[in-house]
């Protein structure tokens, strides 16, 4: 038996930006698989297209700024932005939607502010919100999960999906309209005046689900698994995601009111529908745009969770992770100001703006 002895120090060096980004990319896989299983090839096409555009844009802008192109491409941060945007966009979205969103995310939200590390807003979410505000119709056209499609209708195969995304490849054999449908959050929002039980009974999205919302629960569990792995790998700390999920759960529990017709929906539905887990583990944890200290991240995450609930239930949009994240990105510097950690040897923490004595 070989008894290898390693000399101290045994501690590994901190993760490089490139490693962090690669771990994040890997961690999106379970969620991506669940999305592809339920909604077809659309998300994969979104991601590939967004990645191509993102890397191209990043290279062009870095070259324009007279900085080393390869060095900046190697940190994979543009890829992460592209993958997150591709995961968030509706599957089978037309190609120009993805392209415009990615151009906006990399060009305006990231590089106009100075590139990686200087952007005050999460680039993927800026791209998403720009698209949601500018093109509400294609952005709210979601696919019905595979097993809930009416008899005789199938999800398009890879070639048909490509034809739907890129109409230049020829007319797809199948109309997209036949396979589109509401998301669970949509369905819940639009059944006003019904008891929660009645909504669940009326919608196969709820009644045929294993836990609460058909298809989406597995997508969210996939992102949860990826996120937990990232925490285990110490890519980010638990504070922001756990605080966000707790904030959302708390709000949902407070306003569930036993499932009456004015109920906001059960906590478990809010946790396993929409972009909750993607947001909690992949968006809220962005080290650049979130608050910095552990205490700050608790405040930041919890505020996002509460905002998500408020916009979902009392706002106009069915899902709200992107809006909530952007709003709190605004607030992150303020949170940082009030949550400066106590320096060792000092009796209490300072505020960042406090004058030195």
């Amino acid at each position: 038996m070989v008894f290898a002895r390693a000399s101290s120090p045994h501690e590994h060096s901190a993760l490089s930006t490139r490693q962090v980004m690669q771990y994040v990319l890997l961690a999106t896989l379970p969620g991506l698989v669940a999305l592809t299983w339920n909604f077809g090839w659309g998300t994969v096409i979104n991601i590939l297209l967004a990645s191509t555009v993102a890397v191209g844009t990043e290279a062009a802008i870095v070259a324009l700024r007279k900085r080393p192109v390869l060095f900046y491409l190697q940190d994979c941060s543009a890829l992460v932005t592209a993958v997150l945007l591709g995961l968030a966009l509706p599957p089978l979205a037309p190609w120009w939607l993805t392209v415009i969103g990615t151009l906006f995310a990399i060009g305006i939200a990231k590089h106009l502010y100075g590139g990686l590390g200087f952007n005050p807003f999460n680039p993927a979410m800026v791209g998403y919100v720009v698209l949601l505000i500018s093109f509400p119709v294609p952005m709210t056209t979601w696919i019905t999960p595979r097993d809930l499609l009416p008899a005789g209708v199938h999800l398009p195969d890879l070639w048909q999906s490509l034809q739907i995304v890129f109409p230049i490849l020829g007319a797809p054999g199948q109309a997209v309209d036949a396979i589109t449908g509401a998301t669970p959050l949509d369905a819940f929002k639009h059944h006003t005046g019904l008891l929660v039980e009645q909504i669940y009974a009326a919608e196969p999205l709820f009644s045929r689900a294993e836990i609460v919302s058909y298809g989406w629960e597995w997508v969210n569990l996939g992102f949860l698994a990826g996120g937990v792995w990232l925490i285990y790998k110490k890519v980010f700390t638990w504070h922001a995601p756990v605080a966000m999920l707790l904030g959302l759960t708390l709000m949902a529990a407070l306003f569930y009111d036993g499932g009456s017709s004015t109920s906001g929906g059960s906590p478990i539905m809010h946790l396993l529908s929409g972009a909750t887990m993607l947001g909690a583990f992949f968006i809220v944890t962005d080290p650049v745009t979130s608050a910095t200290s552990a205490r700050g991240r608790l405040v930041y995450g919890a505020s996002i969770g509460i905002l998500v609930y408020i916009i979902r239930v009392w706002g106009n949009y069915p899902d709200a992770v992107a809006f909530a994240v952007l709003l709190m990105n605004f607030a992150a510097p303020l949170i940082d100001n009030y949550t400066l950690p106590r320096t060792y040897g000092h009796s209490k923490a300072r505020k960042a703006t406090e004058k030195k004595p």
Binding site: I108, V130, I133, S134, P136
Partner: protein
């Protein structure tokens, strides 16, 4: 300051001290109504009229009004011209007046106008003040129209739509359809689009200024190569 050249006043108003791009005054109407060329042009002309009129009158009374009460007097003059403009627009371009709505009376609060009255008209002779008002107004209006054109193209895919509201029936068919209706980037019509477009315009203007400055520096007489005695003590000035 009575020896200001008209050429300098003109270049100040249109470019080097442009109210919208350099002084960044009057951004509220600039961002709010520049969703299309016709709105932008309407507000630009109205502002031009008020600016020229107020500059003229402020310059006329500059020796009669004491320093202590000058600001209220300026505001009264500006408000008078704004009301006149409002009535004119009501009479001749009623539909445009309705579209622009509150932003016509709000010209009173446009900082460009009070700024020019205070900084220029109250210290200069009448002709110079009038030219300054016209040029500043033209510079502001030009930026408005450019922003309006960019936002109209990106946001609704048209250019010069509804120009008949401003120029009468002659302009009814000036509208250019650049790409199909309903495919515009809605963001460009919304306020964030205005901020982004104005930001890009300012960046373009600054980079043009940079190019001009480097060219001018290069064209300036090259340094003469004369031998200088090397000094070993003290500093070479």
């Amino acid at each position: 300051m009575s020896d200001v050249s008209y050429r300098e006043i003109t270049s100040n108003g249109l470019w080097s001290n442009n109210p919208a791009l350099v002084q960044m005054l009057g951004l509220c109407p600039l961002l709010a109504v520049s969703g299309s060329v016709v709105n932008a042009m309407g507000l630009g002309l109205a502002t031009l009229l008020v600016l020229a009129g107020s500059n003229l009158v402020v310059s006329l009374i500059r020796r009669q009004v004491s320093d202590a009460v000058r600001i209220p007097v300026f505001v009264m003059i500006i408000a008078t011209f704004t009301t006149c403009t409002e009535l004119l627009m009501k009479a001749y371009t009623y539909e445009l007046y309705q579209i622009l709505g509150i932003f016509i009376p709000l010209i009173v609060t446009n900082c460009t106008i009070l700024g020019r009255a205070e900084a220029f008209a109250s210290k200069n002779r009448v002709p110079a003040a009038l030219v300054d008002g016209i040029m500043m107004g033209a510079g502001f209006g030009a930026v408005l129209v450019v922003v309006g054109a960019i936002r109209e193209i990106i946001g609704s895919g048209t250019l010069f739509a509804n120009m008949n509201l401003l120029f009468g029936p002659v302009a009814a068919d000036w509208k250019l359809e650049l790409f199909g209706d309903g495919h515009g980037l809605l963001l460009a019509i919304l306020p964030p689009g205005a901020f982004i477009v104005v930001g890009f315009l300012i960046a373009i203007k600054n980079s043009i200024d940079d190019v001009i400055a480097t060219r001018r520096a290069a064209r300036a007489a090259p340094v003469e190569k004369v031998s200088r005695r090397v000094r070993t003590t003290g500093t070479i000035s």
